[in-house]
């Protein structure tokens, strides 16, 4: 599917990190996997959980919760790995994102997507494409390319909270 057709689709996959709900455009999502054994790569930053075998491809898995400044994912029956296409340096690569639970595929009309709040947001605005209000709940639509870029940004929280998180990551890595 080319870019133009993709942008016409209004489907989003929603998932949960803790109590909060996020969504990613379905064009980015390749696959949803059940939690499986992850081979840890030594000396890697904490959010880099390790690698798994995805039909013969070695797929890096990222702990999305740590990226968002939360505690590391605790594995439950609902824990999933979402396989995503990420664009890095004009090259499409695949990564797996650990999330607490996958919710649903939602149809969200473009008109109903509000711009991300510029002040008072918990998360850095470049990672949020918009906010949608579905059934009185706010769902944050994420820019997946930015969230999982290779850039060594550990936290997606705004500046004030970022400093102590970064420190904790430095200790780990």
């Amino acid at each position: 599917m080319n870019q133009e057709n993709l942008s016409k689709i209004n489907s989003y996959l929603s998932f949960k990190l803790g109590e909060e709900e996020f969504a990613a455009h379905v064009g980015k999502v390749l696959n949803i996997l059940e939690m499986t054994r992850i081979t840890e790569v030594p000396k890697a930053p904490e959010y880099m959980k390790g690698v798994i075998n995805l039909r013969g491809i070695v797929l890096p898995v990222i702990d999305t919760r740590i990226k968002f400044g939360m505690t590391p994912t605790e594995y439950t029956a609902n824990t999933c790995i979402i396989v995503l296409d990420i664009e890095v340096d004009n090259e499409t690569i695949q990564i797996g994102a650990l999330v607490d639970a996958v919710q649903a595929v939602l149809e969200i009309d473009k008109n109903k997507v509000l711009p991300p709040p510029s002040i008072g947001s918990k998360y850095r605005s470049e990672f949020i494409e918009g906010v949608a209000n579905i059934d009185e709940k706010f769902i944050m639509i994420l820019n997946m390319d930015a969230v999982f870029s290779i850039e060594d940004v550990a936290s997606l929280k705004t500046k004030t909270e970022e400093t102590d998180i970064t420190r904790s990551v430095e200790e780990v890595g």
């Binding site: 081979t39 790569v41 000396k43 690698v51 075998n53 013969g56 070695v58």
Partner: protein, 691 residues
């Protein structure tokens, strides 16, 4: 049509490369007839092909060039440096002409005319000399050849697919007839019965007796376009015209009736009979054999696109992975009786892997011509005399490695010629031979290929390097560096020691790029230099990039692969012994060996097992132990990249998928040991140096 043109350009590029190689060889042995033949044949083929595909400029140009070499091969012209220079320049020009658009550029047109004039000057100049040449005493046989002509036996046995490229063998025979008197025997015995016949195949082969005033070359020229598609045998059977001999003709007619081929031996016997009878008539014709090029290149190689090879490699990789699963399954289900099958599959896939590998391996010879040319041109441009010696040109490497190796090597050679080798005057002053020497040596070393480039030039002055590093703020003035460390400075970005920045090298983008490019293909580069005596650069490369033989080990619940090529020995050791040491040294077989406890280094919990395994690996010609929980066994690891997110974890060179579907990580032991040795807790570097 575009497709054909692409094919032509591919082939032409090959031909030109071969031509270049032959020309450089010819420079060494200017009188070697076989090389002259090679040059001529390459030109002739190039001419024919380019004419066929509408590259008229190349066609007409090669035609003129060919004339020169025709004169040379007929001994009417000597091979001179001037001719070789011109031909090499011409080959360069022809490469430009392959791009059809290029002729629109005035500079190319100018060059074309200039070269063409030079070529014509040589051809015409030669004509004037011809008289001189003829006065030289010629061999009696030759004079006889010219007077009476010769009779040749010709066997033309095309492969059955001859028609596929549009060749009509009858035209070739017609051409033979144009040379003189000819008697052709067509052999139809290979033709199958009508119901089995495939009209697109050629079942016929021919034998011919040819009498001509021309020499043997003119006959082989007839078949020049089909020499790869046919067995061709041309032999002189007698001087003079045997076909004019009644006895010979009657004998031949007797043979004609026989279904099978007449064969050179029978013909020769016949010729001898005739000759002996002819001796009485005082016409002496010694049966000198002139064996011409044969079928050596018949079907010994084929051309396959690189894409297909890549695909083949991928499939082999997948097969190896699947085979590992099969083996595991068979081991776990002994009663299934699968084990012998699994073992067989393992054996076969290993063989298949080795063959598939050897297909993508190509000898480094392929890029050496380019270097020879570079050394030749650059040294004459700089007014230096340099001989370039290559050893181990048949050493084979993965084609992708060779592709990425050409640029770095080019750069190293440029450096050697430009900065390393002194000019003749200075060399004589230093008591060195006038000619500088650059030696490129390639050889296997374990699972690696080493390429060594050494020159006997000025070497690197450590003083100048240190000063430069200090002035650039890379090191501080009070820092004392070892000789090795000083030399390693040249690999830092922005470091160029040439006093003068020439357009050849020395723009500051230098050895750091070389190092990075070689690191990209998992290679390493080292420099050694003796000031005043020369420099040696050693490049260490992996044989292949995609599958390695490894040792599968376990640490905690993670599997790791250690390349077998670095593994020396394996010992079992009590956990107690390791836990108690303070300096991380164990004594094994009476030798002190520094070790690293992988669990601790990779931040796993300490083991509770009583016994662990020490894998002794080679690290820069020393032994270092790596301690793991257990050894699982040998494993063929198909290397998969870890991806960009793990770029910084370079002590893991990749991952591989095990039979049970889990992922094992491939250790880069060199990087691991270097990393750990810098670790604060361990002063292993000192221990290593003491050894």
């Amino acid at each position: 049509m575009d497709n054909f043109k692409k094919k032509f350009i591919e082939e032409a590029t090959d031909l030109m490369d071969g031509l270049e190689r032959s020309l450089l060889e010819l420079e060494e042995n200017p009188n070697d007839q076989s090389i002259i033949q090679q040059v001529f044949r390459a030109m002739h083929t190039l001419k024919g092909n380019s004419g066929m595909f509408g590259f008229d400029k190349i066609d007409s140009f090669t035609h003129e060039m060919e004339t020169i070499y025709d004169l040379i091969r007929n001994d009417k012209q000597q091979v001179t440096r001037e001719i070789l220079d011109l031909t090499l320049a011409a080959v360069d020009h022809l490469k430009v002409l392959l791009d059809e658009e290029s002729f629109n550029e005035p500079s190319v047109q100018e060059n074309h005319i200039r070269l063409l004039n030079k070529v014509r000057a040589i051809i015409n100049g030669d004509k004037k000399d011809e008289k001189l040449h003829i006065e030289k005493p010629t061999q009696p046989i030759q004079s006889e050849e010219n007077d009476l002509g010769n009779t040749f036996y010709v066997l033309f046995d095309p492969v059955s697919e001859l028609f596929n490229n549009g060749t009509n063998p009858l035209f070739l025979l017609d051409e033979l007839y144009s040379l003189g008197q000819v008697k052709v025997f067509a052999h139809l015995n290979k033709i199958p019965s009508l119901d089995k016949i495939n009209p697109e195949l050629c079942y016929t082969y021919w034998e011919a007796i040819v009498y001509t005033q021309d020499n043997v070359n003119s006959i082989s020229d007839v078949f020049i376009f089909v020499e790869d598609e046919a067995t061709i045998d041309i032999q002189k059977i007698s001087g003079g015209n045997l076909l004019a001999d009644d006895l010979f003709i009657t004998e031949l007619k007797k043979l004609e009736g026989v279904q099978n081929d007449i064969g050179i031996t029978k013909i020769q016997k016949l010729a001898q009979q005739i000759q002996s009878s002819r001796v009485k008539d005082k016409i002496v014709a010694p049966g000198v054999k002139e064996r011409v090029q044969s079928k050596e290149t018949a079907i010994s190689s084929i051309r396959v696109s690189a894409d297909k090879l890549d695909m083949l490699m991928n499939l082999v990789s997948e097969l190896v992975t699947t085979q590992a699963r099969l083996t595991l399954f068979a081991e776990n289900n002994v009663e299934s009786g699968l084990m012998p099958i699994a073992e067989n599959v393992q054996k076969l896939s290993r063989q298949l892997r080795d063959i598939a590998f050897s297909i993508v391996l190509i000898p480094i010879e392929n890029m050496l011509t380019r270097f020879q040319r570079l050394v030749r041109d650059l040294s004459s441009e700089l007014g230096k005399e340099v001989v370039f010696i290559t050893e181990g040109a048949d050493t084979e490497l993965d084609k992708t490695i060779i592709e990425s190796l050409a640029d770095p090597l080019m750069h190293i050679l440029r450096n050697s010629i430009d900065h390393g080798i002194e000019d003749a005057e200075e060399r004589l002053k230093k008591g060195k031979p006038k000619q500088g020497k650059i030696n490129l040596k390639a050889f296997y070393s374990g699972a690696n290929v080493m390429i060594q480039i050494s020159d006997d030039g000025a070497g690197i002055d450590p003083e100048i390097i240190s000063q430069k590093a200090i002035s650039k703020g890379i090191i501080t003035a009070d820092r004392k560096l070892t000789h090795r460390e000083v030399l390693d400075l040249v690999f830092l970005p922005g470091f160029s020691t040439a006093k003068q920045v020439t357009d050849v090298s020395g723009r500051g983008v230098g050895m750091d790029v070389v190092k990075r490019k070689i690191a990209d293909i998992r290679g390493e580069v080292e420099i050694e230099s003796k000031f005043g005596f020369g420099t040696t650069i050693t490049i260490k490369l992996p044989l292949t990039l995609s599958i390695i033989d490894g040792l599968l080990v376990k640490v905690d619940d993670t599997h790791y692969i250690i390349p077998l090529s670095v593994v020396d020995k394996i010992y079992a050791i009590e956990h107690e012994k390791i836990a108690k040491t303070f300096n991380n040294i164990v004594v094994l077989d009476g030798k002190q060996i520094p070790f690293f406890y992988i669990r601790r280094e990779f931040e796993h919990t300490e083991s509770t097992e009583t016994y662990e395994q020490v894998i002794v690996v080679n690290f820069e010609e020393k032994s270092v132990g790596l301690i793991v929980d257990s050894v699982v066994g040998e494993y063929q690891a198909v290397l998969k990249p870890l991806g960009k997110h793990y770029k910084k974890q370079d002590m893991i060179s990749g991952a591989t998928i095990l039979g049970d579907g889990t992922v094992a990580l491939v250790m880069d032991t060199n990087k691991i040991i270097k990393l750990f040795a810098n670790h604060e807790d361990f002063k292993i570097g000192d221990e290593l140096n003491k050894e």
